[in-house]
């Protein structure tokens, strides 16, 4: 297997912008999307901050240009917007001219509608069109139909590493000559279901999250959708199109420790990062920037930080968690952070870890706290770790 896989397009919508351009602007300006809840119908409004996509469903329907009244969930709408941007960004004019797949990651699927209409679905015949939008596959198929993908569709569901695993499968299918290009990433809208779930685990910060800070109190949830277009070497050569980055490595490892917690020494995180490095053929010192999973929970940041120290030593590459901007977009996080990693390479920038004040006493390093411009960013490691011990890591490289 000598084939290379390139990123030729990116698309994103999250709490910090409705497209790539706005996202980059917010990252440069240090503008976080974490605010008081506005759109999610929940009793936690005013107490738990989140990073919402700053549009109502009516506005999203208009932005996507789809008919109102159709059963589109919020996840599907933001997914369509981000996937369409990625396709356009990759200058794909006829999606059927090459064998193209869509692999999207989601965990709560259409839960935003299910939880809203659940009693109706159980007890009445009202809103029953939302019965079939509940499952994870619904959003992927609607996004595929929206952008015209027919050759392959699938959905990963490994909680917060879903989008990273979508990109891993996409890359492997291209390398094996099964597809010429894959639109891969993830989507997740906020729901009362998972917000309350995370709340029962007591890992939601009541203030803007502080990843890698000694006094961190937990994560902020976010919502978003982000996709990359992965293309084979042949496909890129044929079209002569611009390559944004190369997906040079990936790793997937299960920690097999606990359904929701990581080992203190970060065994699974270490294994995933190490595999990604080995596959890329890069040495640890060649990594310029780590876009960390960095949720801001007590457990994650120790575990991930120690795994980074084990792999990179006490003088690791520059590190930041951009979840301080976007919140933790769960299944979309791997996609959101892949797009941010590609932006870092494209613009020679490293985006800061917002809200950081005090170094963790357990760790030898601090994250980047100011925007770095004109720095060498040739290789970026992006981490995504999920419930179930599902740890994945990706490496994006300059081409």
């Amino acid at each position: 297997m000598s084939k290379r896989v390139f990123v030729t397009g990116i698309g994103i919508i999250s709490g910090i912008g409705k497209n790539v351009e706005e996202t980059l602007q917010s990252l440069i300006e240090g503008k976080s999307g974490v605010e008081e809840i506005k759109y999610l119908r929940t009793n936690h409004k005013g107490t738990i901050p989140v990073s919402e996509v700053k549009f109502s469903e009516e506005e999203l329907i208009e932005m996507a240009g789809v008919p109102a009244g159709e059963p589109y969930t919020r996840s599907t709408l933001i997914g369509m917007i981000a996937a369409a941007e990625a396709v356009k960004n990759a200058h794909i004019f006829d999606i059927k001219d090459k064998r193209t797949g869509l692999i999207s990651g989601t965990t709560v699927g259409g839960m935003d509608k299910s939880e809203h209409y659940y009693h109706d679905l159980l007890n009445t015949n009202n809103h029953i069109k939302y019965i079939e939008t509940h499952d994870c596959g619904d959003s992927t198929e609607r996004i595929a139909d929206y952008i015209g993908v027919k050759d392959f569709v699938s959905t990963t569901s490994t909680a917060c590493s879903s989008a990273a695993n979508s990109m891993i499968l996409g890359s492997r299918m291209i390398k094996n000559g099964m597809l010429d290009r894959v639109i891969a990433g993830g989507i997740e809208s906020l729901t009362r279901y998972h917000m309350n779930g995370f709340n029962t685990l007591m890992i939601l910060d009541r203030e803007p999250c502080k990843p890698f800070d000694e006094n961190r109190k937990g994560l902020n949830l976010g919502e978003g959708a982000a996709f990359v277009v992965l293309e084979s070497e042949e496909s890129v050569k044929e079209s002569g199109k611009k390559v944004l980055a190369e997906l040079t490595g990936y790793g997937n490892s299960c920690e097999a420790f606990h359904q929701t917690a990581s080992t203190p020494e970060g065994k699974g995180a270490y294994a995933a990062m190490k595999e990604a490095l080995e596959r890329s053929g890069l040495k640890p010192e060649q990594i310029d920037y780590i876009n960390a999973h960095g949720t801001g929970t007590e457990n994650n940041d120790i575990s991930e930080g120690r795994a980074i120290e084990t792999l990179f030593g006490t003088n690791p590459p520059k590190i930041s968690s951009t979840k301080s901007y976007t919140g933790h977009t769960t299944s979309a996080a791997g996609g959101v952070e892949a797009v941010i990693s590609v932006l870092a390479i494209q613009h020679n920038m490293i985006f800061p870890n917002l809200n950081f004040k005090q170094q963790m006493k357990e760790l030898s390093f601090k994250p980047v706290t100011e925007l770095l411009r004109d720095v060498k960013v040739d290789h970026v490691l992006s981490n995504s770790f999920g419930f179930g011990g599902n740890n994945s890591a990706l490496i994006f490289s300059r081409y």
Binding site: E141, H194, F387
Partner: protein, 354 residues
Amino acid sequence: MEVYIQGIGNISPQNTSDNSTFLNEPLNHEAGYLLCVEPNYKDYINPIQLRRMSKLIKMGITASKMCLQEAGIENPGAIITGTGLGLVGDTEKFLNQVLDYNEEFLTPTAFIQSTHNTISGQVAIALQCYNYNNTYSHRGFSFESALLDGMLLIHNKDAENVLVGGFDEITPEHYSIVKKTRWVKKENINSLELLNHKTQGSIVGEGVAFFSLAGERNDKTYARIKNIKTIYKPQSNEEVAEKIDLFLKENGLSKEDIDLVVLGLNGNTETDHYYNYLSDNYFNTNYAYFKHLSGDFHTAGTFGLWFAAMAVKHQMVPQIARYRKENFIEKPIRNVLVYNHFRNVDHSIFLLTQ
């Protein structure tokens, strides 16, 4: 891409947990939905852990252990699962708490267990398996994606052997909801008479099955999976037949080489035409069907694959599963094609050889 099936653990609405027998005592289900025949979990899970687990987790861990025991594998090179709806019981439990208690006084257990990757994670914990681990949730491509992923891992030598599974459960609450769609029959029927009910919709089932796959044949081998294919939203019966024709050619076979076609017929008069077109106009061979035994669900393909592997291993097609019986001819079962679709949208083909 070919892999060999070395072990199977199948928990279904039939007595399928002992692979030395092959549907010799078929069970009829009279309810609107078919529940699994649950095995004795205590043979596989210690009692303390058992108490904390919901039904689907118990079935998942048990099926994975049955499978690995049969294959003689302690620690697989990867664990990959597929599920259409995930842990429905746990999801309902937490969702009802959120709604009934107005987002207050909640406990995390049901939430923690409700993510779709719970089973792949729990199986990994039970085996202390740190290798590649993934879960797919895409309707009729959930298990098929997991299988494809596992076959790729073996093909690319990323793993010597993989544990691939599919799982879905039906609960009374969820049944009461899906019964409102056009995919579920309104009338209660005897499941074994499924195809006599020429009405809209099908019957709902559930099941958990794990397969141990490896790149090399050994004395435990059931069958070889030569290749698989998914077809998303085909436009016509002819398109499906054309794609199957091409798929067979790509795998060095023609339709005349297929000794048995296992069809996903589910008694839905609106969508069974895909199957009947193939048996009327394309193939001329022996046929079997299985959804009167398993019910229909997102990962029913697991039952189809189990059935095909068992037919090759036992060299027989149980009477209860024969379709177009009058034309059935006894012959060796070397090449088997499984064709199944989920709600007319997600169509899949498995090609097995002896």
